[in-house]
Symmetry: C2
Subunit: 222 residues, 2 copies
């Protein structure tokens, strides 16, 4: 199971979501064909993706929904609770704090930081906003796994450097800038501007050259 590509991992998330829906609808079994149709990919791709991690299906039958669901949650590391910190309480940071849909997948925001004295000390959603100055200490004390960076572009790299120094091993970046992290730290970015510009390109240059994969976007590599 070494060397699984990133597109594959992203598709696993997708399958997980589809399987969750299927389970809610009480469907007990699913074929690679059906997963592919719902996920906008191909049956061969689904089977190949899963084959990197083991052999979960039954030939002639397909995959057991609850079974595959459990396997995927395990593969993606979603059986444990992840301790997340949010840095930056501007428009985007506040929205994320309010949204928290990802909490259901085990991502819990345990600390919130901002540099603005007017915000420090206030409570947002049951959490006290801490000063960005005490970031390293708090990240360490709270054993934060993942930091969500929602600060202006100019401040983002410094936040990352400090988080990495405090032992954080995962960064989710919302700042519209390219960040650099050491090899042992995982980085993903969400960059709306890149996506909009991709649409602009697609709309400008004929209709038929499409937009693209990776929504996701962005393209980091840790």
């Amino acid at each position: 199971m070494r060397k699984v590509s990133d597109p594959t991992v992203s598709r696993l998330s997708l399958y997980l979501r589809i399987l969750t829906e299927l389970q809610e609808q009480g469907q007990s079994t699913v074929s690679s064909e059906e997963l592919a149709r719902r996920g906008g990919t191909t049956a061969a791709q689904v089977r190949k993706d899963l084959s990197f991690f083991g052999t979960f299906g039954k030939r002639g039958l397909g995959y057991g929904v609850p079974d595959l669901l459990a396997k995927l949650r395990s593969i993606l590391g979603l059986e444990r609770r992840w301790r997340v910190a949010l840095v930056g309480l501007g428009k985007i940071g506040s929205a994320l704090l309010g949204y928290q849909d990802f909490r259901r997948q085990g991502f819990h925001v345990e600390a919130v930081f901002d540099a603005d004295p007017a915000k420090i000390g206030r409570r947002w959603d049951g959490l006290e906003v801490r000063s960005a100055a005490e970031m390293e200490d708090v990240l360490r004390e709270q054993e934060i796994d993942i930091v969500i960076v929602a600060v202006p572009a100019e401040a983002a790299q410094e936040v990352v450097d400090r988080a990495v120094r405090a032992g954080v091993r995962g960064i989710l970046n919302f700042a519209p800038t390219k960040l650099h992290v050491p090899p042992h730290v995982a980085l993903r970015s969400v960059n709306m501007t890149v996506e909009l510009e991709g649409l602009s390109y697609a709309l400008s240059n004929g209709g038929r050259e499409a937009a693209g994969r990776r929504s996701g976007v962005g393209g980091d590599r840790s």
Copy 2:
């Protein structure tokens, strides 16, 4: 200039941002080497990306900053103004409406829709919130180019179908679900859950298998 890959287009956005910074700092020329270092890629990659669109550099010298900036803006279709509509005024939609950093690149939100009667008719940032029921008409009247989908997953596909029927050719999806569009429509997605799960996978499975690309990760194809 046919058949340019999506990763290439995303990197053009990145170069554009770097060039903007360089210009603000008054730097007149830049090498593929420097663009690569700042952009977290390689010099060969930068040159290859640009070569799809023409020959913009001077051998022995590098690229002229203002010149390349102008070329990229033209390639990405950023010389015109794009008419954008936002559908869904929940946490994320409201944040986007408040954020609007992308306005500087020519993306103007001209219409806002929500299904909640309590929100319809209110003014947000100078725009009256319209009923989702009148979406098709307004999209057509206002000649909207791009629709940002910020509704719950269950409602997203219907919003897209209606937008497409109204002539919209670009969709930016924030709903945590896979959307399907006809070939002539460009689609990009931003899916935070996929990115977080990618981090979870990376953190779980050894430290050394990194996270990935394309932030942006998501992966559509129109």
